[in-house]
Symmetry: C2
Subunit: 246 residues, 2 copies
């Protein structure tokens, strides 16, 4: 008996961009598979409809893995793959297993001896880093930062300190808190630090800007990219030691 | 006068995989552009030929930026973009600005007020992380590790320690040193640590495996994926604190 393969299937970051941002091999794999492990079943169905999956949607099996899948549940969901069926893990947007709960499923797949194949697609973190101009030879993604204002300010100072050796620091925020996050960065970090805002990546409205904290502060709010409720990746890099005054 | 846009143009990781791993919008942008800033001019030309760029190759302008481009040179190369020509930064393989020298050009583009647009394509780091099953909600790419055996062993122990909080540690090696790197990890890290080897990503020969250090050690060399001269991403994650004996 041949075991199946677990594919990691990226989905578009922006509406209407499936054919622009997913390559042919990714679209072909998505259309060949009938069994999906999805962070959110509704968005998975919308995606499979958008790419014109050849089978009627109601004939596809879409298991919703939720936001904190447990190992035992993952093993049960992977049993059809052990028995020879190919499956795909699908994120709500972007690459499964990156800044989402898909990694638990993949970890169990390795333990079960399944073949795991990642497919190419858009990652907001990677696109933000590419377009930031900040160091891509050493970087760190730290997820979400604390909500408490004092804890957040301290964490932002720590991130700037951690980046002094040249490591770019990346994080994300719930989109309705983006403006608050920007204000917190401008208040906590030194004027010389470089801050990238990468907003609505791959959408027609995409904006990526890197400026120093001093330059961001000098802009009138109306000259800043609007961030409220728009998915944004933040990236930070301290000024090189020799250029810092403090 | 309208300034031009600087595109970040990914290229395939594996031979013959341009159409499988680059989406339509990336291919369309590559074919529309006549001015390229390339890490390596020869591989850039081979890529543009492979995707059937509509203009004769000798009519395209391909500037070789080398491995350590300087800011002043970057500003000169970007002058046509300031004057309204679109340009693309092209890596030797994968995403420009990630684990390659392209970020310097992008950083200067932001300073010159140019629009920067990242295009979707394959990244070996991101594909390795997706397929690893290790934590994708916090991760770090540290580039290359030291060559000296003692310094390497110490660095590997440090990386395992740094990952105890749940942060996946990713790095790369010059492909002919891959087997030596694997031996160094198996010697330096604790038996419970999880190690991913992600080899020849997107190629037909792609292999991604995650095993504990103890499991890797127990495999006969012939049962391990062959790594010599095959591009490989390494990823490491310490066992959760509660599961560690030491």
């Amino acid at each position: 008996m041949t075991v199946g393969t677990l594919f990691l299937l990226p989905t578009p970051l922006a509406e209407g961009k499936a054919f622009d941002t997913l390559p042919a091999a990714t679209l072909a794999a998505a259309r060949r598979i009938d069994y999906f492990l999805a962070e959110d079943a509704k968005t998975a169905r919308a995606f499979l409809k958008a790419i014109a999956h050849p089978r009627p949607l109601q004939e596809l099996q879409i298991v919703e893995i939720g936001h904190q899948p447990q190992a035992a549940a993952a093993d049960a969901w992977l049993q059809p793959v052990v028995a020879g069926t190919d499956a795909a893990v699908v994120s709500e947007a972007g690459c499964p297993g990156i800044a989402d709960p898909g990694a638990v499923i993949v970890g169990r797949a390795h333990r079960l001896g399944l073949q795991v194949r990642p497919l190419v697609g858009p990652s907001s973190l990677l696109l933000a880093l590419m377009a930031s101009g900040l160091n891509g030879q050493a970087f760190r993604f730290v997820g979400y930062l604390p909500h408490d204002a004092n804890a957040l300010a301290q964490r932002l100072r720590d991130l700037e300190r951690d980046s002094r050796g040249g490591e770019t620091q990346l994080w994300i925020e719930t989109p309705y808190r983006n403006e608050r996050m920007l204000e917190a960065v401008l208040a906590a970090c030194t004027p010389e630090a470089q801050l990238t805002l990468a907003t609505e990546l791959t959408a027609d409205s995409e904006v990526v800007r890197t400026r120093s904290v001093a330059e961001w502060k000098a802009l009138k709010p109306g000259d800043r990219p609007a961030l409220h409720k728009r998915p944004t990746v933040f990236a930070l890099m301290a000024a090189p030691r020799s250029k810092r005054s403090g």
